[in-house]
Symmetry: C2
Subunit: 303 residues, 2 copies
C-alpha cells in the first residue's frame, strides 16, 4: 500500500527559483494530504503533475508565510477549476479569518464546502481518523504556535493464508471474525486454529513531520520509532546560536532528535537561503544519524 511523501518545497523563508518554501504532499493509499502550503505550491503541484483536486485535506503547521501564503491561491484555483468535493483545512487561528476576508474581498462564494478545523498547537490532539490512518498533532517549539503532524497507520487485521483457506469454503460472514483472531470450524467439525489459516498483517508504518522548531526533546515520545521523520534543519552546526535564537534547528540537532527517538530514517529540510549547495548539511547530519535523506523539491520518500 502506497505511503509516501513528495517534497513540493524544501526552503525556508523566501522562495527562490531553485527551492520553493515548505510544502509536502503525503499519499496514503491514494488519499492525498497536503502538509503546509507556501506561495507557489499550486505551481509545484502542476510541475510534478499532481492533480490538485485529489487533495482533500490540507494541514497548516503554523502561520508563518513560508508555510501558508499559497493556501488562498490553491483554494481559489480549486474553485475556479470546478471543484465540488468538500475540502478540509486544519490550521491555527486566525487562518479561517485570513481566508474569509480574502474570499469576501473578491466576492467569491466557493462552489465547494470548505470545513475548517482549528488546531491548538499547545497540546497534542487527534485531528483525523479513517479506516487506515490516524493523524495527531505534535506540539513544537517555535516563535508562534506551531505543531507537527504524526501520520500513523492503524494496525491492520490478520491476513488469510489464501493458499490454505481457498479450499475451505469459508462463508463470507466468517472472514471478519477470522481476521480478528477467531478459529474456523468446517462443515465436518474440524477446527482450524487461527494461526493455521492467518498470518500477521504488514506492520503499521508512521511518518512524522516536524517543522518549524528549535531543538525540543519533548517531541521524542510522539515520534519514537517512526519509520520516517522529517525534521527541519534550517542551519548548520556552526550557526547553533542563530538557530536557537530563531527557534529553528541545526543539522546536528535534527540528527540528535532522530537518534534519541530511534527513528528508522530522517529527512532534513527547511534550509536557510544562505545555503546554495546542500551537500555539507547532509554530511554533517549523517555524522550523527547516518540514515538521512535530503529534501529537494520534487523528490519522493517512501515511509
Amino acid at each position: 500500500m502506497v505511503f509516501k511523501i513528495i517534497i513540493l518545497g524544501s526552503n525556508s523563508a523566501i522562495p527562490t527559483i531553485k527551492r520553493f518554501p515548505t510544502a509536502q504532499l503525503l499519499n496514503h493509499n491514494d488519499r492525498f494530504f497536503l502538509i503546509d502550503c507556501a506561495e507557489g505550491t499550486q505551481l509545484q503541484l502542476r510541475r510534478y503533475r499532481i492533480r490538485m483536486q485529489r487533495i482533500n485535506h490540507i494541514l497548516i503547521s503554523h502561520l508563518h508565510g513560508d508555510h501558508f501564503f499559497g493556501l488562498i491561491g490553491l483554494i481559489s484555483s480549486m474553485h475556479l477549476l470546478g471543484r465540488t468535493k468538500e475540502l478540509y483545512v486544519y490550521g491555527p487561528s486566525p487562518l479561517m479569518e485570513i481566508l474569509d476576508i480574502q474570499l469576501d474581498a473578491s466576492q467569491t462564494e466557493l462552489n465547494y464546502p470548505l470545513s475548517f478545523h482549528e488546531l491548538h498547537p499547545e497540546q497534542s490532539e487527534q485531528i483525523y481518523e479513517d479506516d487506515m490512518l490516524i493523524i495527531t498533532t505534535i506540539p513544537l517549539n517555535h516563535r508562534i504556535p506551531t505543531c507537527g503532524f504524526l501520520f500513523r497507520e492503524k494496525q491492520r487485521k490478520r491476513k488469510l493464508k489464501k493458499r490454505i483457506t481457498k479450499s475451505l469454503n469459508i462463508p463470507v460472514d466468517e472472514f471478519v471474525k477470522i481476521k480478528e483472531g477467531a478459529d474456523f470450524i468446517d462443515a465436518s467439525g474440524r477446527v482450524y486454529k487461527n494461526d493455521e489459516i492467518t498470518e500477521e498483517a504488514a506492520i503499521s508504518r508512521a511518518y512524522a513531520y516536524c517543522s518549524d522548531t528549535g531543538y525540543y526533546e519533548p517531541i521524542i515520545p510522539f515520534i519514537k520509532d517512526v519509520d520516517l521523520l522529517y525534521h527541519e534543519a534550517t542551519f548548520m552546526n556552526d550557526k547553533a546560536d542563530v538557530a536557537a535564537k530563531k527557534f529553528h534547528s541545526t543539522t546536528v540537532e535534527a540528527a540528535t532528535i532522530a537518534k534519541k527517538a530511534n527513528v528508522k530514517k530522517l529527512i532534513i529540510g527547511h534550509y536557510s537561503n544562505r545555503y546554495d549547495n546542500l551537500d555539507d548539511l547532509l554530511t554533517e547530519t549523517k555524522e550523527v544519524f547516518p540514515n538521512t535523506g535530503i529534501a529537494i523539491d520534487g523528490k519522493s520518500f517512501d515511509v
Copy 2:
C-alpha cells in the same frame, strides 16, 4: 529617459508553469512601480533579475486573487531581506486589513514603514506625483471595484541649445527662467529671444494599464492618444458573450478601444487558460488595430 514596462505575469485566473497571473513592473527614469502582484510575482522578479528592494510603489487594481495574492509574500520577503526604506501600497479596501491580519498572525512587525493609500475605483483620482510623473486612476467596469492606472510624464521645460548658450556665460540662476521661456540679455545688452537659445523638450509620454474590464467606452477620455495602452483581452471574439458575462474583454474589444482612443500602440494580455498558443489572439487583435504587441512573461515594452 527610460520609460518601459516589463511583463511579470500575463495570464488570468490561474498560475501555470508557462504563464504567471498578472503583474508588471514599470520603470520610469529608474523609479520602479509594481502594477498588480499575483502569486509568484516575487519569483518572477528573481527570474528576471529585478531587485525587489528597488520597488517603492505597488499599485493593486482590484482584489481578485490573480492580481494580489503575491503581495503579502513580497512584503514579507522585503522585510526578511532587511528593507528599511518606506514602501507605498495603493489598493482598494480591505487590502490593508488583509495584509494586517496576516502580519499579525505571524507576529511580524515590518522593519520598514508601509504607507497604505486606499483607492476608490468608482472615480478617477490622482494618486501620485513626482517631478516627472503623475499617476491617476481609471475607473473600469469589472465584477468588483477595479481601476486602471494612467502614468503620464509631466511636460518638461524647454531645453537650452547648448551649442549657442555655452559661449554666452549665462549665470546659473537665469537657467530656470530661460527654460520657462524668458529671453536672455547679455552683459553688452544684446537680447537673445527665447526660441533662439532654447528648443522644445521631448514630448511627454503616457502609459495606460487597463485590467480587468469589460468593453467600456467611458475609459476612452482617460487613455486618449497615449503612447502605450495595456488592455486586457481575456477571450477571443467568438467568446464575446462569455467575456461580457464575466466583465472581461475580447481581442476585438481591446482593439476597438485602442482605435477609438487613438493610442499609438496596444498590448493585450490577461489570457484565459484555454489559450495555449497566443498567435490567434494577436492576429485577431491586429485585424482591428495593427500596432499591437502581445504580453508574454519577461517581455519588455518601451512607452
